[in-house]
């Protein structure tokens, strides 16, 4: 049974496209469902504001949808574009592109639901702040999308890079690892960034005078919560663009695949944890603005400790790429 490269690439592209939109649909649906649930709770509290809440819910859901639209775009490209197949590495690359975008869309979709839901509830609690709340929600959920954009970038690079000059062993492990590193690590940062933004929208509704400090600390917290996704992106870039010498053994390919899995999975926990830590800080800065210095310091120390396991994962990844 002799198949040519083109057949295998088509097979991998169809499987990757299915996984891309299959996984990619999970996050956005959960995030939007959460937003709708909060909107219902808000309307039952004050039915007179139903129109406002409805508008805010739709805007928030539209942003949460964007990650799954990225996944849909990648799936369409994988299904319908004629990918030039020059080597068997392309088979692994297009499959990895689907995995990267599928996993990468989960976190951003779930995350964007938190600020949208909190904004809906906040709207009925503090109607005068609706403008500020909408702005905060938009900034917060836009930042949540960055991990899925990283995954999109990696997916495009994997689809359109020509790997024909690279040796099949061990490059196939590197490209599959790159997809997993960028995709899985985006889950944590997306959810984490969303938890922070949700706490910030809630805090502004509770204490409107704290809006500027809450927004600042939210952005700080979100930026730090993005670091695991950035480490994942970094490892993915190294895996894609480093030239690996041809090998006669299996071990180097498995080391490169393991490196991607390590950074990908290792980024999930710290991303979520930093988001939770920062949401505690933001929530209480809104309630007790006088103590902003102490709270920010404790929040940053807590986030730094939560980051440590992501750094261990990166160290092991880099050892797997460069040392063994």
């Amino acid at each position: 049974m002799e198949q040519d490269i083109q057949t295998w690439v088509k097979l991998a592209a169809y499987a990757g496209g299915g996984l891309s939109i299959g996984f990619g649909a999970i996050g956005a649906a959960i995030g939007e469902g959460y937003t709708a649930a909060q909107a219902n709770a808000a309307v039952s509290r004050n039915p007179g504001l139903a129109g406002e809440v409805f508008k805010s819910m739709l805007v928030g859901q539209a942003i949460a949808e964007s990650a799954s639209i990225f996944a849909l775009v990648v799936a369409m490209i994988l299904l319908f574009s004629n990918i030039a197949a020059t080597s068997y590495i392309t088979v692994a690359a297009v499959f990895a592109a689907g995995l990267a975008m599928g996993f990468g869309a989960i976190g951003s979709g779930v995350g964007a639901g938190f600020p949208a839901g909190a904004a809906c509830i906040g709207l009925v609690r503090q109607t005068a702040m609706s403008g500020k709340l909408t702005t905060n929600m938009l900034i917060g959920s836009a930042v949540c999308q960055t991990p899925s954009i990283f995954a999109l970038v990696i997916a495009f690079i994997l689809i359109f890079t020509d790997f024909s000059t690279h040796p099949f062993w061990p490059t196939w492990g590197a490209v599959l690892g790159a997809g997993l590193a960028a995709g899985l690590s985006a889950i944590g940062s997306g959810i984490g960034g969303g938890v922070v933004a949700g706490a910030s929208s809630e805090g502004i509704a509770r204490q409107p005078s704290s809006v500027s400090s809450v927004t600042n600390i939210m952005l700080l917290g979100q930026a730090i919560a993005q670091t695991p996704a950035i480490l994942g992106l970094l490892v993915a870039f190294i895996l894609i663009f480093k030239e690996f010498g041809a090998t006669e053994t299996i071990a180097p390919a498995m080391a490169l695949l393991g490196s991607g899995v390590c950074m990908g999975l290792g980024g999930i926990g710290p991303g979520i944890g930093e988001g939770i830590a920062s949401s505690g800080g933001v929530k209480w800065i809104a309630r007790n603005e006088k103590e902003i210095g102490t709270l920010t310091r404790t929040m940053l120390v807590g986030m730094a400790v939560a980051e440590s396991t992501a750094i261990y994962a990166m160290v092991i990844s880099l050892v797997l790429i460069f040392v063994v």
């Binding site: 498995m254 695949l257 393991g258 102490t294 807590g302 092991i316």
Partner: protein
């Protein structure tokens, strides 16, 4: 290409090292985040005890970190010793 036993074992050790550190990093990350969030809450309620609360948070996080360090040790053993 011919597959040899020693090569196969090395391949499994490398993949296992990655999976060990990757999965092992999830729990401590989330747990330490929860500890930090509660510390912020407690400081917000009672700012006078900020020093004591930060110390307690750090001790709790250090304990929660231990499983992450176990994963790191197992990964390094798989990479360099086994």
């Amino acid at each position: 290409m011919a597959i040899e036993g020693a090569d196969l074992i090395k391949a499994a050790a490398f993949l296992g090292a990655g999976i060990s550190m990757g999965l092992g990093a999830i729990g401590p990350g989330v747990g330490e985040g929860m500890a930090a969030a509660k510390a912020c809450e407690a400081i917000g309620r009672n700012p006078k005890e900020a020093g004591l609360l930060t110390r307690t948070m750090l001790v709790g996080q250090a304990v929660s970190e231990s499983t992450g360090i176990y994963s790191l040790v197992v990964s390094l053993l798989l990479l360099f010793v086994v």
